[in-house]
């Protein structure tokens, strides 16, 4: 099965992969309306200092909802995302079976079922899962949200991050 693999030596920390991901998963599919009409946010600096994304959002400083994430350290950069592991640690840890593998081999989350217990965040050795607090199935729990991770862009032939990367630092292939 094809998945997205980073080529770290080519990454220049431009964050276009994150922006493309957010736009691809938005409703309006355009950067300007995604930001102004849907309220989607692209800049990680805005929510810095907030440990809880729900509190960041309440302070009108929401974190970006990208499914890939650029990591930077001392001029070394890399964008990482879910690898749709053959044996998925998240699926083995999920408290109620909301995480599953579909017929194509992708590891996906049933967003209506996820209770936001974050066992998957604990379990994913690649740090590929984030908290989407724009959806909650357990409103009685503070900061509740659902699992958020790469879904390999089901409506595209090539994932948006791979397509947009200006240095071809992301590869979509079988390994």
């Amino acid at each position: 099965m094809k998945a997205v693999y980073p080529i770290a030596t080519r990454c220049i920390d431009c964050h276009l992969c994150e922006i493309a991901c957010i736009i691809e998963h938005s409703q309006t599919k355009s950067p300007v309306s995604a930001h102004f009409l849907e309220g989607l946010q692209f800049n990680w600096q805005l929510s810095r200092g907030y440990a809880d994304p729900a509190e960041a959002k309440a302070a009108v400083r929401p974190s970006p909802l990208s499914r890939c994430r650029v990591s930077a350290n001392s001029f070394r950069f890399i964008s990482t995302m879910c690898r749709h592991c053959e044996v998925a640690e998240c699926v083995l840890a999920c408290k109620n079976g909301a995480l599953y593998r579909d017929a194509s081999g992708r590891v996906l989350v049933n967003e209506k079922k996820c209770i936001g217990c974050w066992m998957c965040i604990m379990a994913c050795s690649y740090g590929a899962i984030t908290r989407n607090i724009d959806r909650q199935n357990v409103p009685g729990v503070a900061g509740n949200g659902v699992n958020h991770h790469c879904d390999l862009c089901p409506n595209r032939r090539t994932p948006a991050c791979v397509y947009v990367c200006p240095t071809q630092a992301l590869a979509y292939e079988e390994r």
């Binding site: 693999y5 990591s71 592991c85 840890a93 209770i115 066992m119 604990m122 899962i129 357990v138 900061g143």
Partner: protein, 435 residues
Amino acid sequence: MEYVIVGNSFAGMFAVEAIRSVDRDGRIILIGDETERLYSRALIHEYLGGLIDESLIYLRDDAFYDRMQVTLLAGRRAEKLLPDDHALVVDGETIGYDKLLLAVGGAPFVPPGIDGLEKFKDSVFTFTRLSDARLLSELVKGREKIVVLGAGLIGMQAADAFVHLGKDVTVVELADHVLPLALDELAAQLVQEEMELANVTFHTSDSVARLNGKAGKLKSLTLQSGKEIPADLFVIAIGVRPNIGWLKDTGLIVDRGIVVDEHMRTSLDDIYAAGDCAQGLELISGSRIVLATIPIASEQGMIAGLNMAGQAAEYQGGIPLNALQFGRLQIISYGYVKERKGQEVISVFNESQSAYKKIVLEDNRIAGALFVRAIDRAGLFRYLIEEKVDVSPFKNVLLSDDFGPAALPTTIRDEMFTTRRSRIHRPALQTVSPA
């Protein structure tokens, strides 16, 4: 091939899926002593507290057993194991097996020496099953003062459920702080304060000595310290022990749980064990211990199933891991977070955010990691612990807000992100979950 699995929860479920990924023809019999179909034992507290809809607690859909061609014997209890005959006695009926998986989990431990447990038995409960949750949700309507014995994960979650039901809750714990196995003193203090905001009362370094009341009605409890506290419902949640009493005198080697090797095999031929009843390899200590958590049970069940079906899959070992939340405090912990002599600690505490990160190091390898509220990317630490990575080259950035894959040495970063990793030799089929 006759596969028999005793235990209708996580380990048994993943074993079924693993067997079917390799063998669509063998017969599978799944025996469970509960009548409900596959549900998540971890969610019975949320269910009791009215926080989640019942539909969210079921692990698979109604058609799961049919789809997997499993003969389900629900509400039936396995009473005796006859290893020489390759058979099990289930409610008087003898069932033969070619391969047997014991995924029988744990049973709640009731401490001896509490005076009055029998006299007030209508007010004393353990809380590990969905049937307990249903019973308690009816019973609790007429009760106000709930006392929970045990501030481990089950006790604290039970207390939380009763808080959501608007009850007056007190928790009594033997250790000197709550969640003594999962948290350190600082994190435990944060959790206790959070629960105290919801009016929960705590008595730590204490225990319950006696139940008091009149005419079978519970009125109060006397603690070991001498204090008397009002109570009309008493929930015992001091721990769960592997359900292995019924396996005595079978020749099965047991310690705290059923001892298993890297193929989840027990000491008896064609018998495997997985989950909360099994004692498998723990990577940090290098010894075999019972790790009663969902990811371990699921993985062990999957590996057992593959081996039963003839695949040589190996269990690499596990570590203690927990993800929990009380009030606003989301917490993830790995390994052993209370430092011992000779271990190094690095930590950062942002008091205004109640955000706490702590790493315990031994010889530059992570032996424990604890995250309170700052849980983003915590899973990277699972990799570092399980792969026994020497973190000295990047120790100074481990706790930074920006810690991520870019901070890892190139060889490790590439090992993690450029290969198609599989934790066992052959992948198991994981089911399509209908929405």
